[in-house]
């Protein structure tokens, strides 16, 4: 579904991504883990089109994604839930969700997706008239995910959904992400610093360090890998 080949991104002279290959198949849950500054957010930005790669290719669903303008990419079924949530603070919760449903598919299926989002995150229904800027961090994250889902995506990309959240709240968020993947058949690409939680739910994992994929493998292989256990799982 998504195939990234030898992707190079540089900011000025600084190499953020260096020959990255990542593949996501339909229906999979793929996690990209790694420390701060590994290039995880840059990877997402390249997929969404807010940074322009220096080399490499990204193909999605038969499209050469790099030839598609950034504003068109969500309409192909890619939902990007950005790092730091980035809800629209001066708009209400419901308006934020409506913005998620700005894509053609989202608009068509708005009534159903809205119900799905409200079932996943009942607090959003309770607060639908409230300004998003006044929500707590956890609620904003739920809104950001809900907004992504409202676009009726085929591929849901989540950038550090646990960032800045209390552990219990982060657990809820991870549970919901798994539920979205299982029950709604959405392909998930997750980027996380919380390696244990991210690897726990994935089918396939990539370890990104300073712009390179240093390891990749199935869930079982990575969990069993000595280096991963030592460096990331603290075992």
């Amino acid at each position: 579904m998504l195939k990234i080949e030898s992707l190079d991104v540089a900011y000025g002279g600084l190499r953020a991504l260096d020959g990255v290959d990542i593949e996501v198949a339909q229906g999979q849950f793929v996690a990209v883990v790694g420390p701060n500054g590994a290039g995880k957010t840059t990877l997402f930005r390249a997929i969404s089109g807010t940074v322009t790669p220096r080399g490499g290719s990204i193909s999605y669903d038969g499209h050469d994604l790099l030839a598609v303008p950034a504003a068109r990419r969500p309409h192909l079924g890619i939902a990007h839930v950005p790092e730091g949530r980035q809800v629209f603070p001066s708009m209400t919760v419901l308006e934020n969700l409506e913005m998620g449903a700005y894509t053609e598919a989202g608009r068509r299926r708005w009534r159903d997706t809205r119900e799905v989002v409200f079932q996943l995150f009942p607090v959003l229904q309770e607060r639908q008239g409230q300004l998003a800027g006044t929500l707590s961090g956890g609620e904003q994250q739920m809104l950001a995910i809900g907004r992504g889902l409202a676009s009726a995506p085929k591929l849901l990309m989540l950038d550090e959904p646990s960032m800045g959240l209390a552990p219990a709240v982060a657990d809820t968020i991870f549970d919901r992400i798994q539920q979205i993947h299982r029950e709604h058949g959405v392909t998930v690409l997750l980027v996380e610093q919380r390696v244990a939680e991210a690897l726990e739910s994935c089918d396939l994992g990539y370890v990104l360090e300073t712009g390179r994929v240093v390891m990749q493998g199935s869930h079982d292989a990575l969990i069993a890998d000595e280096r991963v256990r030592k460096a990331y799982l603290g075992l």
């Binding site: 969500p74 809800v87 629209f88 001066s90 894509t103």
Partner: protein, 313 residues
């Protein structure tokens, strides 16, 4: 009549005049506030779009014969409204070929340099419009000849200028329509989203550049309507934009940079202060009074009346 009664009448007279002037100022500020609120661009040429609005209204009223057909009462109002679409088109083209190159997605990543380019560009557009206006329209002051500008309705002891009252009503209706557009329509909502967070808006599939272009053109058009309305109660020449752009900025900052509702009330406040100051200060100090009040409000509320710069990232 006692001295107090006389003062009370003067006070009410100034209050009414302030509200009427404030209504058109509010609309003028809303145009500028919209451009800044959505695009974060400081548009120095806004006063000159206001001037273009005045001339557009003048030529629609006279040369196109709108006044001759609709009469001296309805004609100026229709001409004032017609200035909107005309200057909207000018703004659209300017954004498409010039402003869009240094703003929006194109300017992402060139934070500092992007802003310098924006300032120089809008300043340049201002100069071209002013001097181009001088060549095209001439330096002779003009005004839309309507009997309403000198006629007043008498309400008790109060005199209410007809031209200003009509302009006030039209300005409020236009501002209200714009408000509903932004609040209710999908296009309006997507523009607010692009204003709140352009990056996230892009992730929603919103064409941020198109939102910006619409906001810029609408902002120009709305300010031009204010100009077109004021053109029937004030004479103007190609350099008049400069007088108004400062007032406009005072209103927008007063209301709170980035807030369109704030721009409305900021403009209203400017109108009220300007007219009410004549009660206690000589006529020539009107603008001084505006800035004294401006400084006071900014001193007490640095983000302005409706400021929300704190919650923006």
């Amino acid at each position: 009549m006692s001295a107090f009664e006389l003062f009370a009448i003067d006070f009410l007279q100034a209050l009414v005049a302030g509200l009427l002037v404030g209504g058109t100022y509010a609309l003028m500020c809303v145009g500028l506030g919209m451009i800044f609120g959505v695009m974060r661009v400081v548009n120095f040429a806004q006063g000159d779009f206001f001037m273009l609005g005045m001339y557009a209204a003048y030529y629609v009223a006279t040369a196109l014969g709108v006044m001759a057909v609709l009469g001296p009462y309805v004609g100026p109002v229709i001409a004032g409204l017609a200035a909107g679409p005309v200057v909207f088109a000018v703004g659209w083209v300017l954004h498409r070929f010039l402003v869009g190159r240094v703003t929006g997605v194109a300017a992402v990543g060139t934070e500092g340099e992007g802003h310098y380019a924006q300032i120089i560009l809008t300043l340049g557009i201002a100069l071209v419009l002013q001097n181009g206006g001088l060549i095209l329209f001439g330096s002779l002051p003009l005004s839309i000849p309507t009997p309403m500008s000198r006629a007043s309705w008498e309400i008790g002891e109060l005199l209410v200028n007809q031209a200003r009252t009509v302009s006030f009503g039209v300005a409020i209706v236009v501002a209200l329509l714009l408000y509903l557009f932004l609040k209710r329509t999908p296009l309006g909502k997507s523009m607010r989203a692009a204003a709140d967070n352009p990056e996230a808006a892009l992730y929603m599939g919103i064409d941020v550049d198109r939102s910006h272009r619409t906001a810029f053109a609408l902002g120009c058009g709305v300010t031009a309507i204010a100009g077109g309305l004021i053109a029937s109660s004030q004479s103007f020449q190609p350099y008049i934009g400069f007088d108004f752009v400062i007032t406009m900025y005072a209103g927008v900052v007063l209301g709170g940079l980035g807030s369109i509702l704030g721009a409305f009330w900021g403009g209203m406040t400017i109108g009220l202060v300007q007219q009410m100051s004549t009660l206690v200060l000589p006529f020539q100090l009107q603008n001084t009074a505006i800035f004294v009040v401006f400084l006071l409000i900014i001193f007490l509320r640095p983000h302005g009346m409706f400021g929300r710069s704190a919650d923006r990232t």
